[in-house]
């Protein structure tokens, strides 16, 4: 397929994951639709639990991924949207209020601006930086909820926002890692938010849905109720924990455990195959070994169950389950584990679905790559940002304050 590459608007999204660095490139067509051109990838190095531990090596991996993307798409990448994650990411909901002073009490864009700035001033830990200020709804005097208040009459106006913030140093490190490569970071989004854009439909969001991105390093999740984001979170547990548990439980080298997990991993043991064994063939410094399948499934099952349980408990504590009309969706590399859907169904009080395919126009090669949920979703986020204003303002320069860099976008 030939895409119009002469003077296209091209957007690129980058994620520095614990296992993979990926760069997704798409063309923004005249009609506003998005066509995927390709995804560049490289093995991530020096990243653990979603955070950069070894800056230089991580940066080399980022560089390799960008080059790969450029090669695949024949596009020069000069700026990217960046996904960030890490257990330091926290969120909360705030309500802000303003009076409508005008005589006719008509709400104008300025009032919305005022509210946005007020929300921006909300207190977050002093070592944190605001990443997202996501509008949930507006409330008029009579408690009418709306998302388009301009032109309506009211004495006062309230707005609810979902704020997402993170440790300034961690965020700066991530941004700097890319910016130092002479690639501008035009915008930043947290992974859970980005992933949601590749999975959840507007209908899902309106009916109430949860998206869980099971990654190698961390698990990100986000909750929509009535079309608005009401909660998001990051847990420092992921596919690596499943592997590590196998490593310690079966006394295998890490690499072997990872292979075992990918090839034979299952959260349930087929009752007919109770005595099933797996034979690991003899290698250089490794005897041939026979493992009980039961041991493998036992170890994986309790770990995965624990992770899912934490999410369930979190949402229950906030009284959110009653508001989920749609489903809880699972994506991310670790969602490919056999038996995940069945296990989730046992744990969560709402219907569960493991995302099998993304819907994207353009390059179809990546549709089933659940580990690319974040970066593909980030493209959609970028699409909205780019579509909304002529150009995102506050372009990154090295040394530029992160606060200005991470311009608050009020998008649903």
């Amino acid at each position: 397929m030939i895409f119009f590459k002469n003077e296209p608007e091209v957007i690129a999204a980058l994620e520095i994951g614990t296992h993979n660095v990926s760069v997704a490139v798409a063309e923004l067509r005249q009609d506003g639709s998005l066509a995927l051109l390709g995804v560049g990838e490289s093995n991530s190095v020096g990243v653990r639990k979603g955070l950069i531990r070894d800056f230089n090596r991580a940066q080399e991996a980022v560089k390799a991924a960008i080059l790969d993307a450029e090669q695949k798409t024949e596009v020069e990448i000069r700026q990217v949207f960046l996904a960030v994650t890490g257990t330091h990411i926290a969120s909360r909901n705030v309500m802000v209020r303003t009076q409508i002073e005008d005589e006719d009490a008509t709400i104008t864009a300025e009032h919305l601006q005022t509210l946005e700035e007020k929300a921006f001033q909300s207190s977050i830990p002093s070592d944190h930086e605001l990443v997202h200020e996501l509008l949930q709804f507006y409330h008029l005097d009579n408690r009418t909820r709306t998302i388009e208040p301009i032109g309506l009459s009211s004495r006062s106006l309230e707005a609810g926002y979902h704020l997402v913030h993170g440790l300034r140093t961690s965020l700066e490190t991530q941004v700097r890692c890319v910016a130092e490569l002479d690639v501008e970071v035009s915008g930043v989004a947290v992974a859970s938010y980005a992933s949601a854009q590749s999975v959840l439909s507007n209908e899902d969001k309106n009916n109430g849905a949860v998206l869980v991105d099971l990654g190698a390093g961390v698990t990100d999740y986000i909750v929509y109720v009535g079309g608005a984001i009401v909660h998001s979170g990051v847990i420092g547990l992921g596919g690596d924990h499943l592997t590590q548990d196998l490593t310690l439980g079966l006394k295998l080298p890490t690499r072997q455990a990872e292979d075992l997990k990918l090839k034979h991993g299952n959260l349930f043991l087929d009752p007919r195959a109770k005595n099933e064994t797996i034979v690991l063939s003899r290698e250089d410094s490794f005897d041939e070994r026979t493992l009980w399948m039961e041991s493998v499934t036992d170890i994986l099952h309790v770990r995965q169950r624990e992770i899912l349980e934490l999410i369930r408990a979190d949402l229950e504590g906030r009284g959110l389950w009653g508001q989920i009309g749609a489903k809880i969706y699972f994506t991310g590399g670790a969602s490919r584990m056999k038996g995940l859907g069945a296990l989730a169904s046992k744990i969560f009080p709402v219907p569960c679905a493991v995302v099998s395919e993304f819907r994207f126009e353009g390059d179809q090669t990546y549709n089933r790559r659940s580990d690319l949920a974040t970066v593909l979703g980030l493209l959609r986020y970028a699409q909205k940002v780019v579509g909304q204003t002529a150009r995102p303002r506050g372009l990154a320069r090295i040394g530029h304050s992160v606060r200005e860099l991470l311009s608050a976008m009020n998008l649903l």
């Binding site: 653990r48 310690l248 410094s285 041991s295």
Partner: protein, 433 residues
């Protein structure tokens, strides 16, 4: 290529570059720390043919005096050869710092037998780190450690038990020997050094015995998976070694006599807990299968309990007339490591340890259900019985140690619990091996 873990490079300078027949190529015996180096020195002096023996310590005098084939002073610049002074954290730092040199020296080894004494600084700090390094590279690890004497103090014992837990997770096989076992020896009380010397000699024999059990050249080598079944979980003591050597006529009887008279077996504790006997027989080329059968049968006859024997016999031309038998009596899988169990539970658990033969007459009537290990009442004369299987419930789950791939990350804490520790472990689940 995965992450930053490199596969072993087969370097020219390692001792394994050119496999030599009969020297157990592919194996390395590594002594760490003061006791470890003493043990491997003993080993080399008794068996001059053993080439792949390594000594590592932070004490300059120890290393210089060592007769190991390959040796290295740890932390030369930092400690200037003065040792770790019992500082386990220092030992650990050294381990990480010296890991590249260690790896270079043992490059090419397929199996490493580590040996050391727990409770001090060097072996206690270094062993867990290097064992993990080996495991990560797919090298088999067999670890033999001695655990401190009673009088060495509470602190040393606590250190030892904490590290045992890590070693249990990281090593393929862990054999633990209690120094305290020798305390009752009649003449031993006169000289502490004598006690340690005995122990080192026995551990040296245990090392060579173990290596001979698993090496390919024997008549019936013990695969690692099988060996693991015989050794299971370790506490402060899960192995007792008996050794003997003799030549000339009647050598079989004399050897077995020596084995049964071995100090560690003297007080009979072993018979309460041993579940298997792993026998290594080394003899010259004139040794026949019939004679081997005689050894096994005689041993079986002499054993006060019915224990399955598993043996491997190795021929060494150099041995000529000399017959050498080493027996490792191992306690089977038990409920040794129950981290977090309440004090009152542990007694019940110990009483449930399999291997206690109900028909055995040795069990004294007065024995209370909780104290599994006890000095024979007649020996102690009014002294309080010692517990050698020290308070199980106190085994600290030293959370820093099992970090593995999560090294250098913030632990994922939820409600004060470190969730980086495997879930199955925190739930005390038994995993079928």
């Amino acid at each position: 290529m995965k992450e930053d873990k490199k596969m072993i490079q087969f370097k020219e300078e390692g001792p394994f570059a050119v496999p030599q027949a009969g020297d157990g190529s592919g194996y390395a015996i590594v002594g760490v720390g003061s006791a470890g180096v003493n043990i491997v020195d003993h080993l080399v002096l008794e068996n001059s043919g053993w080439k792949n023996v390594f000594a590592f310590d932070a004490d300059d005098q120890k290393i210089r005096g060592s007769v190991a084939t390959h040796k290295h002073l740890l932390g030369r610049t930092r400690l200037r050869g003065l040792g770790t002074g019992g500082d386990r954290d220092m030992g650990e730092e050294l381990a990480k710092f010296e890991a590249p040199e260690f790896l270079r020296m043992v490059a090419g080894a397929r199996t490493v037998i580590f040996v050391g004494g727990l409770g001090g600084g060097t072996a206690t700090g270094v062993l867990p780190v290097w064992v993990r390094e080996m495991r990560e590279r797919g090298v088999r690890t067999l670890v033999l450690v001695s655990t401190p004497f009673e009088f060495e103090g509470h602190r040393r014992r606590d250190l030892a038990t904490g590290v045992l837990h890590e070693l249990q997770q990281e090593a393929d096989v862990l054999l633990t020997f209690s120094n305290a076992r020798l305390l009752h020896l009649q003449d031993a009380e006169k000289d502490i050094r004598e006690l340690f010397r005995h122990m080192n000699a026995l551990l040296a024999r245990a090392c060579t015995g173990l290596q001979r059990l698993v090496e390919d050249h024997g008549s019936a080598p013990l695969p690692l998976s099988e060996l693991r079944e015989y050794t299971g979980q370790a506490g402060l003591e899960n192995c007792w070694v008996g050794a003997g050597a003799a030549s000339g006529p009647g050598r079989i009887e004399r050897v077995i006599e020596q084995v049964m008279a071995s100090p560690l077996l003297e007080d009979g504790t072993v018979w309460k807990h041993a579940e298997s006997a792993l026998v290594s027989v080394v003899a010259g080329s004139d040794f026949t299968i019939a004679e081997y059968g005689e050894v096994v049968k005689l041993l079986q006859d002499c054993l006060p309990v019915n224990i399955p024997l598993r043996g491997n016999s190795t021929t060494e031309i150099r041995a000529q007339d000399r017959l050498q038998v080493t027996v490792l009596f191992t306690a089977g899988p038990g409920d040794a490591f129950q981290a977090g169990e309440a004090a009152d539970k542990s007694a019940k658990i110990l009483a449930d340890v399999p291997g206690l033969d109900p028909e055995e007459e040795e069990v004294p009537e007065e024995e209370d259900a909780g104290a599994v290990f006890q000095l024979d009442a007649s020996d102690s004369e009014g002294e309080t019985p010692q517990r050698y299987f020290s308070r199980q419930e106190e085994l600290p789950l030293d959370q820093r140690r099992q970090r593995g791939v999560f090294e250098n990350t913030e632990p994922t804490l939820v409600d004060g619990e470190d969730l980086d520790i495997p879930t199955f472990m925190r739930l005390n689940m038994k995993i079928k091996v």
